[in-house]
């Protein structure tokens, strides 16, 4: 196999349990985002645009959608004669085999894959972040610092530091202290889950980590602290542009809404940095004579006959006459029936909302509602039908399995 300077390993095996019913049937990186994309498009496009042509995608949880979506990588120009994209699920060996136990173990199990390319560097990426980043610049920084590990960091609000790995650096950018999801943080520089390692050094740490029965086999919990403790030269690479972890319902909804700003921080139409995605072969959207579309983002193949305000409408969705969609994320193939209203909701792929249904309405006085989302975002599962004239109270997270328990008065 042809030698490569750098091989990217994209961690895409997580369930994304905090997205609840949206990841019941698919892995988090395959969740639709931004009117036509899936979350993983951003990372794959970053690789392609950064000139990285060898990418291993580590899959484990519900990989079917992801496998079919990635295919041989042609949509991202990653169908290459040497290298390209390889989907890497766990596999059996002579002595048996096991699931990926953690992020570090997932890479450990694919040492042979990486060794085929005899790389100098390995780039570790997550498949669940929305951002545009030139990894080649980060790699140059890594080389210029003489680092063995470089971690991309971004400042986060102090009250959110407990969700991240945070680090302190000296004046040169060298990491002096690292805390994984701290209760009391000493810094608000958070790890973006994007790492560059000298491959041979990382390999040694992965092997040592695997030999430690008490390890969680995780980059943030084990590999990074171990390297730091051993005094390895590790540097933080500051990233100042848009970056969002879309691992929760709230952040997924927010990140979609971020795209609707008049001058959005994350530009999807930057020349020379296209976000590639699998083409759906659909015609241009048709906006009907009585439609009213404002402050929204709409994908190909949409048919809009009603009102759409401040919403993201994905590929092939249909909004019937008299329907009103506001502040919502309507995923691919969803049909909103005549006169239905949808407010501040995420509607899963191919779900049908029948005529007159009302989604995301305030509870009536004294009404007992099973409110799950504190921010009032209503979530409806994919591939279900919300019956004619049904009322769904704001903040409800609706899975078809729970439907029989729904109170009668909700259908009014």
């Amino acid at each position: 196999m042809q030698k490569k300077e750098v091989v990217a390993m994209l961690l895409a095996g997580g369930q994304g349990s905090r997205l609840g019913i949206l990841t019941k049937k698919l892995a988090k990186p395959a969740v639709p985002f931004g009117g036509k994309y899936r979350i993983i498009d951003f990372t794959l496009s970053n690789c392609s645009n950064s000139g990285i042509d060898t990418v291993g995608v580590l899959t484990q949880y519900r990989p079917m959608t992801l496998n079919a979506y990635i295919g041989i990588g042609s949509s991202w120009d990653l169908d290459r004669a040497g290298g390209g994209v390889s989907v890497l699920p766990p596999y059996m060996r002579e002595q048996g085999g096991e699931w990926y136990k953690g992020t570090a173990n997932a890479v450990y199990q694919n040492i042979d894959f990486i060794e085929q390319y005899d790389p100098e560097y390995v780039l570790i990426l997550s498949g669940d972040h929305i951002y545009k980043m030139d990894y080649s610049k980060m790699l140059s920084y890594h080389k210029s610092k003489g680092a063995v590990a470089t971690i991309a960091v971004i400042p986060v609000p102090w009250e959110e530091t407990h969700r991240f790995g945070v680090m302190k650096t000296d004046d040169t950018g060298r990491i002096t202290e690292f805390q994984e999801k701290p209760k009391v943080a000493k810094s608000n520089l958070a790890s973006m889950g994007v790492y560059v390692f000298d491959w041979q050094v990382l390999r040694a740490y992965l092997e040592a980590d695997e030999a430690d029965p008490d390890s969680n086999n995780d980059f943030g919990k084990n590999i990074i602290p171990n390297m730091l403790a051993a005094g390895e030269p590790m540097y933080a690479y500051a990233f100042k542009e848009y970056w969002k972890d879309v691992g929760t319902v709230d952040s997924l909804w927010e990140a979609n809404m971020d795209l609707l700003a008049k001058d959005p921080e994350l530009k999807l139409n930057e020349a020379g940095w296209k976000i590639f995605s699998l083409n759906q072969t659909l015609p241009p959207q048709l906006v009907g004579p009585e439609a009213d579309v404002q402050g929204s983002l709409l994908g190909d193949g949409c048919l809009v006959l009603g009102k759409v305000h401040r919403s993201v409408i994905f590929t092939g969705a249909q909004i019937a006459k008299g329907a009103e969609v506001t502040e919502s994320v309507i995923m691919p193939g969803v049909k909103i029936g005549e006169g239905a209203t949808v407010h501040k909701a995420i509607i899963g792929e191919n779900t049908i909302v029948e005529a007159g249904a009302k989604i995301g309405v305030p509870p009536r006085p004294g009404e007992k509602a099973d409110i799950v989302n504190e921010n009032g975002i209503t979530v409806i599962e994919d591939n279900v039908c919300v019956p004619h004239s049904m009322r769904i109270v704001q903040g409800t997270v609706l899975s078809v399995a729970e439907w029989p328990a729904f109170p009668e008065e909700w259908i009014s």
Partner: protein, 371 residues
């Protein structure tokens, strides 16, 4: 359908499309917000399972090649069969022009001979439609026809466009064919698509090209009406005949009817085209869009009514576009007003300009022009 060979003929006359066809063959004329006219014929063939498609290239095919590349978007970059580009000879023996499908077929006879398929579907590309060719072949076999001509009941035909009228009896047999008849009661119009055995096609090509004939249909098939079993297959779906500027404009506007949009883009499979990876359409607060077809990559803050916007058009606040077709990457300055206008690709309209045509005579601004 592995037994059916597809041949797309690009020798149809496109002069009446004026500026739109000045630098490109008819098949490469942009249509419907993101397509080129050839996309419909190519996609219909592939959707019917045809895996061997030969394209008879004629004149001004540069933009067409840039569009279809190796046929990958239609899944025609195959190890076996796939897409074959069949250029016309640079000059004929008689030194004439080369706008002749018979001469082109004769020139590429080797491709026809070595193709493994028993039947051939020969099609022009001026008819925009979504059609099931499998049903056509089944009809052809059931009727034991020598040639099956696909036709449509066309009531919206332009009086100024060339057409072939058919008379078809109750059994489906074609009893008469006429080219541009001035007095004709039949509205059965040939779609310039026909199915025949490949060996019959080879015979016709050999015989008539050797006798200096030029057009497969009018010179080789029409004179054989009495001796060949020629049947007519009626296609009932939407058909847009693109053969003049006026018809281009009107058939484009047909796409704004949801039933036509649905019929043309979804009935027997989807229509593929070159992928550009444009982001979804951005509608800014204050945008007024109604009855319009909008392709990805557009950003709209102004007013768009009864219009078609191709990919990557920016409509700023105060810009008004009505009853118009705006092709890819047009740049519209502040305060521009368009009505009954067709802007070709990469046109720039500077600030404050107001352009207007008439529904029967849209104004066309040619590619990359600055107004």
């Amino acid at each position: 359908m592995r037994n059916l060979l597809g041949i797309i003929d690009l020798s149809e006359h496109a002069e009446s499309l004026g500026e739109l066809a000045a630098h490109r063959t008819l098949g490469a004329v942009p249509f419907g917000g993101r397509y080129r006219i050839i996309d419909f014929t190519l996609s219909n063939m592939v959707n019917a399972g045809i895996r061997n498609v030969g394209i008879l290239l004629n004149d001004r095919f540069g933009p067409l090649l840039d569009h279809i590349k190796d046929g990958k978007e239609w899944d025609l970059n195959r190890q076996r069969d796939g897409m074959f580009l069949l250029p016309a000879p640079l000059r004929t023996d008689s030194g004439e022009g080369i706008s002749s499908n018979l001469i082109n077929l004769r020139h590429n006879i080797g491709y026809l001979e070595k193709s493994r398929q028993e039947y051939a579907l020969f099609s022009g590309c001026g008819m925009v439609t979504n059609i099931d060719y499998q049903a056509v072949l089944a009809f052809h076999l059931e009727k034991k026809a020598d040639i099956t001509v696909i036709y449509s009941q066309m009531h919206n035909l332009q009086e100024d466009s060339p057409y072939t009228a058919l008379v078809v009896d109750e059994g489906g047999r074609v009893t008469d064919m006429a080219l541009n008849p001035r007095h004709c009661t039949s509205r059965k119009v040939s779609l310039n698509m026909y199915v025949l055995r490949k060996d019959l096609l080879l015979n016709l090509v050999d015989h008539y090209s050797a006798r200096q004939k030029r057009d497969l249909f009018t010179d080789a098939i029409m004179p054989r009406l009495a001796e060949l079993r020629i049947y007519g297959y009626e296609h009932k779906g939407y058909v847009g005949a693109i053969n003049s500027l006026k018809s281009y404009y009107q058939r484009s506007m047909d796409l704004l009817k949801p039933e036509v949009w649905q019929d043309l883009f979804f009935t027997h499979g989807q229509i593929s085209t070159k992928v550009k990876h444009e982001p979804p359409v951005r509608y800014l607060p204050g945008s007024k869009v109604s009855n319009s077809l909008i392709a990805t990559g557009c950003t709209i803050e102004g007013t768009v009514e009864n219009s078609i916007l191709f990919r990557g058009v920016e409509v700023g606040a105060g810009v008004v576009i009505k009853d118009s077709i705006v092709m890819q990457k047009a740049k519209l300055g502040p305060g521009v007003t368009l009505r009954n206008v067709i802007l070709d690709k990469d046109v720039t309209i500077t600030a404050g300009k107001s352009l207007a045509g008439d529904p029967s005579f849209p104004v066309v601004i040619s590619k990359a022009a600055v107004v």
